[in-house]
């Protein structure tokens, strides 16, 4: 079903339907993440991917028009580059340990400690929250600063300046 959504996005020329199909894709992705027991990530995907970004993209489309422009040239070179990168990425996944392999390096490093000690050390039953806010507090601080920087950037670029009121006062 996700493949159908992607093909529909590629074939569609009306950008409004592309945005809505992108929201559909995000919801399907969220269900996949629920199936993988990554409930926190699924919630983020559903609220950010399908909710807020759809609204923001629709707002942007309202400003710049909803029809895709005709391509200027044949897309063979970008297509070749994309296919080459996809091939390299697929080749890279061949080196990964098998899915849900308990002996994979990521599962034997700090994860056992998090799973066994998080409740005792932090008093937080949800290990995801414990790792995110406590063990990896620096990373989350970085993420918050990224969101902050993005917001500041949008404000600096697009905010309507009222020159008269500032110079007058």
């Amino acid at each position: 079903m996700m493949a159908v959504a992607v093909i529909a996005i590629v074939l569609q020329r009306n950008l409004y339907s592309v945005v809505v199909l992108g929201g559909v894709y995000s919801f399907l992705m969220a269900t996949v993440l629920v199936a993988l027991d990554a409930v926190d990530v699924a919630m983020t995907e559903a609220s950010v991917g399908a909710g807020i970004s759809t609204v923001l993209l629709l707002g942007a489309l309202h400003l710049c028009g909803g029809e895709e422009a005709k391509p200027m040239q044949r897309p063979w070179v970008p297509l070749a580059v994309t296919l080459a990168i996809v091939a390299v990425l697929i080749y890279g996944t061949l080196g990964l340990p098998a899915f849900s392999d308990p002996q994979a390096p990521i599962h034997v490093h700090v994860v056992p400690r998090y799973l066994s000690d998080a409740l005792v050390e932090t008093g937080i039953p949800n290990v995801v929250t414990a790792v995110l806010a406590s063990y990896r507090g620096y990373d989350t601080l970085g993420e918050t600063v990224v969101v902050f920087t993005a917001g500041i950037g949008v404000i600096a670029l697009l905010r309507s300046v009222r020159r008269g009121s500032k110079e007058g006062s």
Binding site: V39, D40, A42, M43, T44, S47, V48, G51, I52, V55, L56, G59, A60, H62, L63, V120, E121, T122, G123, I124, P125, N126, V128, T129, A130, L132, A133, S134, G137, Y138, T140, L141, E143, T144, V145, V147, F148, A150, G151, I152, V154, I155, L158, R159, S160
Partner: protein, 140 residues
């Protein structure tokens, strides 16, 4: 969309519960899925929903631009401040164990304030971006 009675009534019924759900996601993040990012997005979505139904000026009266812009900075400052509180109380930066005599309570307290900072910044940024996009005129 101003004169759609169904939308207005449904919106009035739903928006309080959306905000309540955002708070639930925020404060229940210790026990179930959720946390600052998700709660921030959900609360921003509630206000955006309000703006879509009742118009942007009404939403801007409800949550003025000055409030939104200070939220953007306030959340990040709150997070940084929790880190400095750890320093002041004799620990490392972002060390929650020193925030209370009992280290587990200190952890809970630190996580609480940090998640609150994330909530404030995320919802402020989302709302601000929406306000800016929605208030621009289409170039003709």
């Amino acid at each position: 969309m101003r004169r759609e009675p169904v939308l207005r009534v449904v919106g009035k019924l739903l928006i309080p519960y959306m905000l309540l759900f955002a708070l639930y996601v925020q404060f229940h993040g210790d026990f179930g899925p959720g946390g600052g990012f998700q709660a921030g997005v959900i609360s921003a979505a509630a206000i955006i929903f309000y703006a879509l139904i009742f118009g942007l000026p009404a939403a801007r009266r409800l949550v003025p631009d000055a409030v939104v812009e200070s939220m953007v900075a306030l959340g990040a400052l709150l997070y940084l401040g929790v880190g400095f509180a750890g320093l002041v109380l004799g620990g490392n930066y972002l060390d929650y164990f020193v925030l209370d005599r009992n280290s587990v309570t200190g952890q809970l307290r630190g996580v609480f304030w940090v998640e609150l900072g994330v909530l404030i910044t995320v919802s402020g940024v989302m709302l601000k971006v929406f306000y800016i996009f929605a208030s621009r005129r289409r170039p003709d």
